[in-house]
């Protein structure tokens, strides 16, 4: 059943205007959703690819690190890594994808990646390997962070938009159409009643005159 409304002409015009807006909004939101899904597919594919690479590389680096730990002992290892050779810094920004603010993360000062943060006297070669491996993955690790965050945020927004589209399509618009029909019918009924009454009155007046 339609909402309780006054079956007046004013209400009818108001509702028709609202319906027009709703239909337009529905179309726009649908377009937004479609485009977001398209963008999302691009990012999620990249995300998956990167994650596979990074997980494999990290597994390898950590395996070597474990061997290094076994060879060198805990303390020497901690000591060797105590002082970082450089600081991994990134610049961050925001980018707008279909009105979703997604982060952009770029690595800065990628200096010579070959230098190790410790002397070679007390460390094993596995440690060198592990650190170099990890250095090599770092750019991909950072890109993964950006892409994955983008995917998270897009997925969230797509879900929201889809809900809105569905609410408009299946609830708001049919409801408004129903109400408009109800008002139109009520107005027509009133019109007919009015006409009938007039005819009746005219008949009575004619009878009186005769």
């Amino acid at each position: 059943m339609a909402q309780r409304v006054n079956p007046t002409r004013m209400e009818l015009t108001r509702l028709k205007k609202r319906l027009k807006t709703a239909v337009r909004g529905h179309k726009l939101l649908k377009d937004k959703r479609d485009e977001m899904v398209r963008q999302f597919m691009v990012y999620i594919r990249r995300d998956k690819e990167l994650r596979e690479q990074v997980e494999a590389a990290l597994g390898a680096a950590m395996g070597r690190f474990a061997i290094a730990g076994a060879r060198m002992g805990e303390e020497t290892l901690a000591e060797a890594l105590l002082y970082p050779a450089r600081e991994a810094r990134v610049t961050t920004g925001k980018r707008n994808i279909m009105s979703v603010d997604v982060p952009t993360i770029r690595q800065v000062n990628t200096d010579e990646p070959a230098d190790l943060p410790y002397g070679f006297a007390f460390t094993s070669s596995e440690l060198d390997g592990a650190v170099l491996d990890l250095t090599a993955v770092l750019p991909r690790l950072i890109e993964l962070a950006e892409v994955e965050k983008t995917c998270n945020m897009l997925a969230d927004e797509i879900e929201k938009t889809r809900r809105r589209v569905n609410a408009l399509e299946h609830v708001m618009i049919p409801e408004m159409e129903e109400t408009i029909r109800f008002i139109t019918m009520k107005l027509e009924e009133n019109e007919r009643g009015n006409l009938n009454r007039l005819m009746k009155v005219k008949e009575m007046m004619m009878a009186e005159q005769a």
Binding site: P84, R86, V131, E148
Partner: protein, 110 residues
């Protein structure tokens, strides 16, 4: 707009210590409370990216959920040294299902 911010890693000592060599701020945490505290502290300090071992991530799901819809920080699960739990891939799959309604990405590869 662009400013320089650091990266951090949270996890058990053996897995995260290696990150220290790259200048990534390594935080050692083993229990749920410590991990949550570390996440909130780093987020508060304006950390852009937090890598967290999957083993640590499962212990603090609420803290991670809290920052999921904000641009920063990006909390990224990574495998620890005993291997991957598949949590990262699960996250990707969950995203696909959320956005599209069906898992179309992982079906096509096989």
């Amino acid at each position: 707009m662009a400013q320089e911010i650091t990266i951090a890693a949270i996890g058990d000592r053996d897995s995260v210590m290696l990150f220290h060599a790259l200048g990534i701020h390594a935080v050692y945490a083993d229990d749920a409370q410590g991990i949550e505290k570390a996440i909130h502290q780093l987020a508060h300090a304006g950390c852009a990216v937090i890598y967290i071992t999957e083993q640590a991530a499962v212990l603090a799901p609420e803290a991670i959920e809290r920052y999921k819809t904000e641009p920063f920080p990006a909390i990224i699960p990574i495998p620890n040294r005993s291997g991957s739990l598949g949590l990262g891939m699960q996250g990707i799959r969950a995203n696909v299902e959320k956005a599209i309604g069906a898992d179309i990405l992982f079906g096509e590869g096989r």
